[in-house]
Each structure stands twice: as structure tokens, then as C-alpha cells.
């Protein structure tokens, strides 16, 4: 069993951290995992993406030409990754920042206004967790409990007070994804 996905957006949207959290969760579950970031010369801003592979087997390539799933947090990332997701794959879209529809009809598409949901939950920094919750609803590699526990283990002490909000964001994202019917093409 191998799951691979790309998470992409602007620097600062928690793209790299969301991927790291998945990789940590995979290790905690005794699975193999690789986390591979895009990296550029910029110190802040710019675009960021990471590829996460999770498998019960040792992992060869940490990069994938056509990921099985993608979470896109901004329009440039949708433009880049929409054509690349494997047919029948999963595409999760941050509808707060992306006002165009997904053109492909052979994907399971979940569009969530994740920035707005995060704001409702009290912090714009929860966007990545809302989208991660949606991913886990569709790809239950781990339970939300497992991911929340992993988060507790990896979060520095000074951020521990944010755990309940992060947990709520994961749950809200999962609920919103569950409300979207799986596209017929993928069913």
C-alpha cells in the first residue's frame, strides 16, 4: 500500500508543516515515509510545495510525476497540479483563494473555503489543518485521533495551547469533506 500526495500553496500557508505532520504521523504508525520540499532562494513568500509518500514498503523515489492526491491552497498551485493528479485521484481546493472551478471531470474534487473556516474557528493559521482534515476523510491512512496525538508530540511547548483549535480544524475539514459526494467518475 502506497499513498502519495502533493501539498502546494504560498510560503506561510503551512504547506510544508502540513506535509511534515503527515510524515510524522506515518512514522508514529510504523510506516515508511518521505517528505520532499520544493526549495528556493527566497527567505519568505514565494510558492511552496511538498511531496509526501507513505508506504508499508521501503520508498524508492521521493518524487512523483503524477500524484494520487493534491491539496492546493492557491490558484497557481491549482493551475500547476490539476493536470498532474492521476485519473481518479483526489484534488482538494482552498476555495477561499481560488475562484475558478476545477476543469477535470475525472477527479474526486473537494472545494472548501478553508481560510474562512479557519477564521470562524479563531485563527487564519488553521487553514492547513482544515484541508488536512478533508484529506483524511477521503484517505483514512490515519484516524484524526492519531494525527492529533502526533501533533501534540511534535508541537513545541509554546504552541501546545493551540492543540484544541487544531483538533477542531481537522474535524471541521473532515465534516465538510464528508458532506461532498464522491464524484461518480471515481466511485
Amino acid at each position: 500500500m502506497t499513498t502519495d500526495l502533493v501539498i502546494a500553496g504560498f510560503g506561510g500557508q503551512g504547506v510544508l508543516f502540513a506535509g511534515q505532520l503527515l510524515a510524522h504521523a506515518a512514522l508514529e504508525a510504523d510506516l515508511h515515509t518521505t517528505w520532499y520540499p520544493s526549495y528556493g532562494p527566497e527567505m519568505r513568500g514565494g510558492t511552496a510545495n511538498c511531496t509526501v509518500v507513505i508506504s508499508d514498503q521501503p520508498i524508492g523515489s521521493p518524487v512523483v510525476a503524477r500524484p494520487e492526491a493534491a491539496i492546493v491552497l492557491n490558484l497557481p498551485s491549482l493551475d500547476r497540479y490539476e493536470p498532474l493528479v492521476r485519473p481518479g485521484g483526489l484534488l482538494i481546493v482552498n476555495a477561499s483563494l481560488i475562484d475558478r472551478d476545477v476543469r477535470r471531470t475525472d477527479l474526486d474534487v473537494i472545494a472548501i473555503p478553508a481560510d474562512d473556516v479557519a477564521a470562524e474557528l479563531g485563527s487564519p493559521r488553521l487553514t492547513n489543518m482544515v484541508l488536512l482534515g478533508a484529506l483524511l476523510a477521503r484517505r483514512p491512512v490515519f484516524t484524526l485521533d492519531h494525527v492529533a496525538k502526533t501533533l501534540e508530540a511534535v508541537l513545541p511547548e509554546r504552541h501546545r495551547h493551540l492543540l484544541p483549535a487544531n483538533r477542531a480544524a481537522l474535524e471541521r475539514g473532515a465534516e465538510l469533506a464528508d458532506a461532498v459526494e464522491v464524484a461518480a467518475a471515481t466511485g
Partner: protein
Amino acid sequence: MSIELLKGNVAFAEAAVRAGCEAYFGYPITPQTEALEHMARRMPELGRVFVQAESEVAAINMVYGAAAAGVRTMTSSSSPGVSLMMEGLSYMAGSEVPAVLVDVMRGGPGLGNIAPAQGDYLQIVKGGGHGDYKMIVLAPANVQEMIDLTVLAFDLADRYRIVTVLLADGSLGQMMEGATLPPLRPLTERPAWALTGARERDTNLVSSIHLDPEELARFNDHLQAKYAEIEANEVRFEEHRLDDARVGVVAFGTAARVAKTAIAAVRDEGVAAGLLRPISLWPYPEAALRALAERVDALLVVEMNAGQMVEDVRRVVEGRVPVRFFGRTGGIMPMPEEIADAIREVADAAGAGAPEAQPQEVNA
């Protein structure tokens, strides 16, 4: 010891700390800077030496000095920075001081870019600096090996009084993977030849100058004898799915791990491919490669450069089987699909492809 999610650059830096590195000198350059950052924090914490030098030229000469004083020492950099160190490396070879260099290779030539590449193979494996010298070169392919081979690099450097290079690339430096760090080792004793202050003993000299030609020739003979000993004892490689292979892929580092994914894909179609992965690039696994060439139909060399290690493969194989090459330059990592296509082509050309589907009997 537990498994942790570690970035390659942090993993090798911490492994060096645990192996007893007492002095680190470096200059920041992407994609290896996280190592320097880690050392900047860790070394002073342990009362050890960290210096951010004014340049790579200065850094390698500081390493030379620390090595002459008999402490475990290292530097790390990426391709353009490593080019600046070539003079120092030759002097260190000529002085027989042990040290570790990590080259997290990026796209070249020139400033190139900061993406993963393997274009420093010839420079590092064949020399780069002047004169007849060798460095032991170890090529990790995952974060665990970034750790294990760094520890080994210090041990080999000390054992043979030689510079040992960990030849990694931007992908291995930047990626995170589960890995286990070794315990913190006690610091090593100063060796008897080191410059430790000559009170109550004869003076030691660490130098690479031998003005008398006969004396320099004898010194070269001594170096060559040492290199022959290393060639006899320190060859390391991995064989992966080679038992029944008709096509042998030869690749190191990141190219090798991507090739493993490609090999799994073509094997599902019935193409019997396997991988020989040199871990020591010098000394090169010549006997294993020669033996492989005796039993496969063709070899495919995969590298993230325009064709460098392939020169060694052709040298060793001596025309026994066709040797093909697939490479990507520009800091572009080859995708498993591209390598799989290259394997299929090589297999077809050598008549080692997937068995044709049996013709179906047609009822008239």
C-alpha cells in the same frame, strides 16, 4: 534509540557531532545550509568549535589546521563551494591528514542552480585538486545512510589518514525520512603524529612539501600503497533484485533510489531488471560490476548528470556487454517513469524484454 523524522542535512550534521567531530568550519550555501545552522547551535553547546569562515577557501584551510592538530574535523558545502576547496584538499592529501567533507551536490556548472544533481562525480572521485591523490568517497541514498556513512567517514578518515567525502545531493539534504541516530561517542585521542605541542617529545611535522624528487617519489609510492590497501578493504555496494536480472541498472545516491521504483514497475511487466548501487564511489565496486557484466544482457547507468560514473562502468566492463546511459542535468531529478522507459528500451535492444504474449489460438 528511536526512529525520528530527520532532514538529511540535519541528520549528517548531528551524526558528525555524535561521531566525535570536535571542530566544524563552513560557509553557508544552499542546499546544505541547514547542516551549518545545526552545527552553529550544537557545537558551542558541547564546548566544541564552530566557525563560519569568510569563504570556502578559508574553511577548508581551517579544517586542514584542525586536522593537523589531530582532532576530528569536517566541513560541508555544495558544488560551487566545494570547487573552491580543491587546493586545500590536495594539500591535505599530500599531508595525510584525516578529515570529512560533505558535498551536497547541486546543478552546475558555474553557479548553476540549487536543485539536486550528481555533476561532481568526476571532480570528487577522480581528483579535482592537483597531483596523484585519492579521497574515499561514500554515496548515501537515504537519510539513514547520511547518518551511518558520516560516522563511517570519520572512522575511515582516521584509520587511513585520508580525506573522506560524503557525496550527497540536494534531494538527500532537503528531504525528511525516518532514521535513527547513534549515541554520542567519546572524543578520540590525539594521534601520535599530530601537532599537539612538542614538549617532552620529538617534533612532529605535517607538511606536503618534498623538494627532493626521489623523496617525493617515495612518498607517492607510499600513498599508492595505502590506496591499494583501501581498494582491497573498503569497497561497499548494494545489490538489489539482481538474482535473475537480465538488465543491470548501475546508479548511486538519489538516482539509485528512484531507479528502485522504476525497477519495481518494469518487473511487474516481466522485465527482469535489478540494481547495482555503488556505495563507495572510490574505491569502486569493480569486482561486483565485472561479475554482473558476466551474467546480464545489458547495463544501464542512471545519473543526475550528463554521464560521469558511466566512464567508470565502461572502464570496468571492458565491452563485455552494452552499456547504455540515461541522465538528467539541470538539477532535474529523473522520474521513475523515465527510468522505467529507459530500462524497457535497453531490455528490448538486448532481447531481454518482457516475454511476448502467447499468440491465442483462433477457432476457424
